[in-house]
Structure formats: C-alpha cells, structure tokens
Amino acid sequence: MTASRRGGSEKGADSEKGTGSGPEGATPPPLVQSVSGKGVGKGKRVRLAPSEGDLQAAASGPLQSAPSGSDAPVPMAVDSSAAPSTSGRGPIPLADVKLPLENNTKVMCKWKDGNYYGARILERRPTPGWEGAPDAPGAWEYYVHYHKMNRRMDDWVATADFDLATVEPEVVELGPDGKPRKKSRVEDHSSDEEHGDFDPQQLREHEEFTKVKNIDVIQLGPHEMHTWYFSPFPPEYNGCKKLFFCEYSLHFFKRRSQLLRHLSKCKVRHPPGEEIYRRDNVSMYEIDGRKEKAFCQNLCYLAKLFLDHKTLYYDVDLFLFYVLCETDARGAHVVGYFSKEKASEEGYNLACILALPAYQRKGYGKLLISFSYELSKLEGKVGTPERPLSDLGLVSYRGYWTRQLLPLLMEREGSVSIRELSEQTRIKVDDIMHTLTHLNLIQYQKGQHVICAPPDLLKRLLAEAGSPGLQVDPGRIVWSPYSAERELASYRP
C-alpha cells in the first residue's frame, strides 16, 4: 500500500512480512493467531482482496534482513536516527518540551527490553492514584504506539520512560483551504504486515476506534494473560484494567470476589453445546450462537482481546462456535476456538480462529485449522477461510495447505488436475492454485502447465512447512452438518 513512500531503511526486516512468506528452515511456523478480519458479527465486507499482490511481492522481495530469532517481539531494530528521519523533521530542543505531552507527539520511548524505540503518543491520562503535584512528570501516563511494531505492543508508559530529548510534536499541516489537513495515519503502520489486505480507509477507522487497549490483563482459569487489543466490552466495564473470566461460562467480572461468587453458582464444568470430538483430554464442542448467546458473546469479547481484526459488530446468531478444550479434573478449559457461519454464501468454512495465548505454540492452531477442513470433508463441501486473511493467518493456512497438498503430489503418478486435489482435500481451488504458485511448483511448459514435483524438493518444502501439530482423528468426530430444517423442527422458543 505505502511501499512507494518508504525509505530504503524501512524496507528491511518487516516489509515482506505482509506477504506471509514461507516459514524458514525447520522451525515450526507461528501458531495461528488471527486469521480474519471478518469474524463473528463481521459486516459484509465486499472486497475480497485478491492475493496476487502478495505473490508479486513475494517474487521481488529483498532478503537482507536476518530473523532475529529472539523470543521477544522483534523490535524492528531501527536505530534511533532512522525514525525521525522518515518524517523529515528533527526533534525540538529539550528546553521547549512542555509536559504533559500532547497526543500524536513522537518521542523515543523505552521498551521493556530496555532499548529506546521511536514511538507515538496515542492517548494520555492522569496517572491512577497519583498523589503528587498535578504538573509533575509522574502525573500523567501515556499510551504509546511503537514505531513499526505491531499494535499488540502498544502500552501505557510513564513519562520517565521517554527520552525527552527526542520529542517531536505533531505538526498540523494546513491544507490549501486553510483547514488542518487530515493526516494519514497509515504511515505509522507503513509495514502493513499485520493487516493483511484491508483497505486503508477502513484500517484508519478501525484503528481510531480501537486505538487504546482498554483491558490490560485478564485472568482465565489458571492463567493471567496480558491482552493485546481493544475489545468493546459493555460500558459498565469502562476504566477497568483487569477482568476475571469464569473459565466455564466465560462470564467476566471486575473483582475476584465476584468471580468466586459466580463460581459457587456455576454448575457446569465445560462449555455448553455438543461435544463433537474427543481424543485423550482434548475435546471439541459445537455451540450454536443462537442457543447459547451469552456464552458466545462472552467468547467474542474474550477473543477480541487477542485478535486485531475481529469485529463484534453483528450478533452471534448466525455462527457456530467450535471450542477446543483441554479436560482435566477441574473441567474443560478453553484452549481456543473457531467460528463458522451456519450458512455461508461464499463457501467459507471458518470465520475467526484463536488459540489463547497460554496455549499457543502447542499445535492447537493447526488442530483448529485441520478440524475446520475435516468438517468440510464431512459436509462434502469445499471450504476456505473467510477473507481477508491476516498475515499470520495466511502463513498458517499456507502451511496447512502445503502439508496437505505435497504428500498428494508425492504419491500421485502421471497427472492430476487442481480440481481433483480440491476434491480430495476439500481445499478450494483458488487456495490450491495460490499455494502451488507460491511454492513455484506450477510451471509453464510448451503451452501447457505442469506441476514440478521432484521428490527431494517436495521433501524440503514439506519440512519447511513445519510439523502438522496436533492431529485430528476424523474417526472420532461425531457430527452432522448444521441443518436449518432440523433446527426449526426442534425449535422451542
């Protein structure tokens, strides 16, 4: 989107990430985190962004940056001089800095790894519980977005974290008509890595509305998790920093005492709905959004905390929720879920998918993806995840597609059509085409296309696609596709 405006220094580590490049080496691909911006209750976004752009970018990407390999979020090691240079303005002298800092001020800010990164102030507020002088530096705290980091890194910081020598106030540019010109904020996200193929206008609206993360921490079962994104909890929860979720019904509370009181009432120890799969201690529950509205809405509130491009705009009636659980003596603990439209006109077999942070990197994301395809197989329909895909979703899905398709190509002799592959795997034709093209396996030879499948190459690509994660045992799925007629027949208001 904004590639043309980027300086050379920015075209580094992350500029290619938006294309969801294939995973490297034998390291497992990242766990699926967020697939789709069109989640439950998502509006009809008409544009289904084609993926050609990704492919072109993949073909021409520069390769200079090595992966950082650290556990921490890659801070996009931009040296401190690089960030200011992009705006073409220098910092103002320290003496001119007035506290509190205004919104949209750019400043170097210390991140939790101890280094300073370019950041922009999105919001400020009086420090909660501040007793000192109102104009002291500690009286305010600021919500900052680190330059070129994912929004999930945005956080509240104290004035002490800023390097006040680098303050760079927002300059309101006057347009030709004398009014302040609307600044495109997309430039701050010049690496549109995590936004997949959203259009800039919607992206801007989305970011304005979800600018500041409202809940910092949640407690869910045995885990206390830091959240990533804003979630539109009901207004009663405004100003609340920590929420206590009931592990079973997913009701959320502001105080632990309320959670305990609720727990004393809550009799069930597993999600509502039907258990449709169980293997060892892993179970999958199918929950109808219409029948279990409260649970599903709670689940959406929760999921939004970890998914950027999910909206809760529409109700959950039209979706089925497949909740993955680990079961132990304390009941079934929600591990992740995916949602699925009851009747998808576009042939989607998955709308939103999430593995909760505490259970990430354990192969549950892959389990969820392959489960969605197992359901498609049972339905006898070709399925595809709802578009647009986020970057991480694209990577995960490409991994799955690769792991499904390449073994078929290995076994197969002679020739095979894309349609046949689709029939066997229930992966949509376009997705197969996309995968094979992405792996550069389709070649044009003498006026016709061929699939290049040298065994050693396939083996290497398979290894690169990572491990299949937890495997679904299709024989244990007890499930029948959603049937509106059947539901109507058993309907009781």
Partner: protein
Amino acid sequence: MGTRTSFRPRPVDANKPLLIVRDLSELDTQDGNGEKPELKPLGQPKKPQKEIPTPEVHFVETYHRDYLPVFVANQHYAHGKGGSGYRDDAVVEYDLDNEDEDWLEAYNTGGAKLSDTKFERMLWKLELACAEATEDALMRAGASVAERTSATALAAIDHLGKDLALGVLLEVGARDVIANDVYEYWAAKRRRWGKPILRRLQAPTSASDTNPFNVFRPREKVNRPQTRRRRDNPEECMEKLRSMQDNVRAALGIVCEIIRRERRKRDLTHTEVELQRIRVRQRHDPRTNGSLEDAAQFGMAQLKARNSKNRELDVLRAGGRLLANGVRIEPTVRPSKRQRRPELLPYLRQEVARLAPPPPPPASEEMAFAWPISLPKLLEQHSQRLWRAAVDARESAARRALAANAEPPPPLGPAKEVLAGAPPALRVPEGAAVAGSSRLRLGRGGRVVLDRVDAWSLEPLAAASQEERAFRQYLSEPWPQLPKGGVLRGLVDRVCPPPRVNPAAAAAAAQQAAMARQGSASGGGAAVAAAAAAAAAQAASGSRMGSQGSIGPGNPLARLPSGGAAAAAAGAAQQAAALTGAPSLAGAASLPAGGLQGGGGGGGGGGAEPVQASTAGAARPASVATPPPAAAAAGGSGGGAGDESPTAAAGGAAVAARRTPAVKSEGRGTPGASGGGTPTAQAGTPSQGGPPPKRSAARPPKG
C-alpha cells in the same frame, strides 16, 4: 515459441490434468525466450520468518483453591444444552457488580444484615419481574415486536409497581425494611443505567446504530433487495398461512389420488398385456386350446396376486401392519402392551409383516396353475382333464345304471378323484423345463418346442426365469425364529380364533393313522393302511372344512387342523394345490399319491423316495422350481387298474407339509416335509409304494 504467448501463460485450468514432472531435467529449458525454469522457481527465496510474540502469561496462584477438581468426564460425549446449570432455574443469573458490592457493604455496616447471595437473588428476581411486567404491558398495548424489544421499552421500570416488586422480594424471603431498601437501590440503579442490569435482558443493539462500541447487532442481509415490506399483521398472516396449509393438504390428497389412479392404470395395462399374450398364445398354440381358459385364468390369477401384493404394499406404505394370517391392522392401531414386549416386537415390524404370507387365494381350481406354464404342467393338465372326463363318463354311466335301479347314487366324498385314481402324468427329461433361459412347450403336431425367447414379447426368457428364481429364493428363505410360548399364539388366536375341532373325530383319525403306520411297516397291510388313512382324512376334513389356508406360521394349534384340511384338499385335488397359487409360504403340499394298489407292493422304502405329486406338486411354484421330475408316476397306474382301485387307492392321502422355519423343506413329500405335517396326514405317506413302474404319460388311461 518465440511468440508472446510463450511467456505469458494462460491461467491454469483447474479441471485440466496437469502433468507431474518428477525430474527437472525433463523440463524444456529451451522454451520461450530461453529462460530456464529452474532459475525462476523452485529454489524458494528464504524470507525472514515472522516472530510472533506470545502475550505474557502468568500462573494464578489461587487457581487450585478457586476451581475445585470435581469434574468427572463422562465416557460418552457431552451432549445437550450445556448440561445442568446453563438453563437451570435455580441458578441465579445475576452477578453482583462493584456497585452492588459496595452498596451492600455500606448497608450491612449500617446494622442491617443482608447476605450477598440473597441480595443477588433479590436483584435477579426484580429484573425478571420487571421484564415480565414490561412485556405484559406492551403486549396489552398491542406493541409490535420491534417496539417491545426496543431499548427504551426495556429500560422502563414503571410497569412493575412498587407493591408488586415488594411482593416479589418478600417471596425471596426478605424482611419488609430490607425489601424496601433493595427496591429503592435497584430502581435508582436502573434509572441511572437506563437499561436492565441483567445483560440477557438488555436490548440488542439496533441494526441502524453505527457506534462501533456497541456490539452484537442483529444481522440482516444487506445485499438482498428489500422487495417485501415487514410483516406487521400477524393475524392476517396467520389466516393466509392457514389457507395455504389447507391448499397444500388438498394438493397432497389430489396427488395421492393421482398416484392411485396411475397405479390402476398400470394394472390395467398389465392386464391388457396379459390378455394380448393369452390371445396370441391361443392363436399360435391351437393344440393346447384346452388350456386356453387355464392360461387366461392363470393370467388372471397372476394379476390378482400382483394387485393384492400392491394393495398389501399400500397398506404397509401407509404405516399399517399385515399379520401373518393376512389380517390388516390400521396404522392408527397401536400394538397392545403385550404385543410390544421385546421378544415379540421384531415380528410386528413392517419388514416381517411384508414377509408374512398373504391372505389365502380364492380357492378356485384354476388357481392350481402355477407360474410360468411349463410343458409338464400343461401336459399334466391335459392328461388330467382327459382322465377326469373318463371318470365322469364312468360315473355318469354308473349313475344311469343306478337310476335305472331307482337307487340314489352313492355319495362321493371330497376325495372323489383321489379315490378314483390319480391322473397320469408326463415324464419330462430332467431339467429340460427349467433350463433357465428356455421354456418347453408343445408345438404343432405334438412337437416339443424349446423357446429361448418369449414368442410374443420377444423378451429373453432369462428374465422370466430370474423372476422365478427370485421367487424360489423367497420361498426357500427360512423364516425368522418365532417366539416360543404363548405370546404369539395368544396374538394369533385373538385375531383369528382357532376353529373347533371335533375331538372325537380327530382322535379317531389319529388312532387310525397309527394303525396305518403299523400296517404299512409290516409291509402287508397296505390296503388296511390306505383305508385307515382315507378314513382319517375324511374325518378330519369333515370336522373342519373351510378352515384351510388361514394358518399362521408356527401356530401349533392350527397345525393339526391344517393336516385335515390338506387331506380334504387332496380329495378335491386342485383345491389343495390352490393353497399355493399365490406366492404363499404356508402352502400345503398335497400328495395325491393315489393308485398304488397292489402293484405298488406295499412299499418298503416308499417314503424315502421323493415323490413328485403330479397335480398338486406341479401347482406349487416351489416344486415347479426344481422338479426332480419325478416319478409322478403313481397316477399312471390309476388308469390301468382303475376299476378295482377305489378302496385300495385310498392311500391317496395328502401330506400337508407345512413349511416351518425349522424344517427348510420344499414340502415336496420328502420325509422331512412330511414330518412337518400332522400324524393324520402322515398316514398317507408310508402307504405309498416305491417307484412305480414308469409309464408313458402320453398315453392317457382309458376308462
């Protein structure tokens, strides 16, 4: 090659098979503008892998105390609406929030004592009562659904009067003062919030609301043109729906009638086709013109059977039941409790009912003709007819003579033909008549013609024989084991009470039968045995004429009379055979093994020899199927020795061999089959002689 198309490939066709190339060197590197394909693809450029941070996760120290390990997983998958608790009325849905907790704390320090759970329950009840009152009030006011679920409507609390609210609280068990305070608190909070405090009762976000902080709007299909206005007149709609329902029902009825009409048409067509065939046969087969009526009757019988089968199927399709004895039970009749006992239930299912034998066919002589007409049968028919004519002539002569003496003619029993001697039968080369794809018939000039195709329909005969085979298999399939004991018997008895058996006659018959067996065993007293058998048969038949055929399978009570009936039927030779005219399993094979007088030699191993009963045997489809063409035999002698036979030939008793599940016999007069019969009927068997001297059945006996 060098053209533009070579480097602007067409899009991949998903339906076209693509060649899988295993060896890259096979690729044509000279293609296009000389670009080497290996350079383009395959070595995938390595890209930096995206690092995805995992949000910080900490373990909650108090977890093990907060959540108790009380969960026991079921062996089977959890099922239902969330188990107990999600819909449990006893569970208070409302959870106190900060505001409530703070207020409660302050309230309790003021001296009052109100527990948090009770407070919670009170607020919850207030919410429910308020929502109900609001709903009622709006319903009475005739508000539409949209109005009733609007945010403003749901926010109102004045529909719930204070007295009513206090009543609700008192029900919970609060004291007056506390109830009042709680109500005031609740009312104030409701007014402040402007919406119900129980989230479930809050109004959904309106679809037109664009505030992104409001969530979970009802979803409407935006891209669907709104051609219909909202339905806002439920009364009219209901009327419309009702009339539509009536229309659909009427249409359904009409369609059912149409189906019936079409079935009739089909049957009619079948009838006409049969008729045509018969006509053609008549024309082409003048020699057998004697059997033309038979053929017509045969066709009719077949048609009747088919129609009756159709009717039965109609009953079954409509959900009714068919009992083994042919009684139809309407679908509305529920099996009684006794019948619904598990050991009996399987037999009341439709599949079993379908297998059950159809009602007995009309006892017409012509029904004796079995499916499809084969040469031996025709010949037998023919010879029998001639033989009967001879008998009749003889009798009339005797009558005339008697009339001259002014004496009444001696009454002829039902076994008159048997007594008069069995008809002669043809002997046909084994297997010829049932060679599968061919059919024997008598052509012009007495030639035997072997048909491979049906002369009129030009269908290969394989089809007919297949049908026949299927039918035979149907016949030979064992019956499911029926429940022992009185349950089924009681059922059958109730539906079809057993006919009265004259005990004296039966006893006498049994005694005589025993005597007959003894006699035949000794080898000398064949005549005595025969006489005894005949007497037994008469006695039995006299006692229960007309009860034949209505015998449920496995009904032990009915079995005894069956023997008698069969004996009687043997007397009226074809009549017994008629039992098998329809595809019946309960066919009784009657073996008029008559005319065994003297020459039979009293019969050492007679019972062991499979004896093909001429008439009755041919009449039975089962026996048509695999005719060991049999020493049908016996009858031949009837002609020669006709005059002195009347008493001796009394051995022509009928063996009513019922097919029972245990004995999978064809009822062909083998010992096993006889075993299925009654002692009475068995009496006839031993009296049959060994293989009688083969005679040419082509030479009908002369009277």
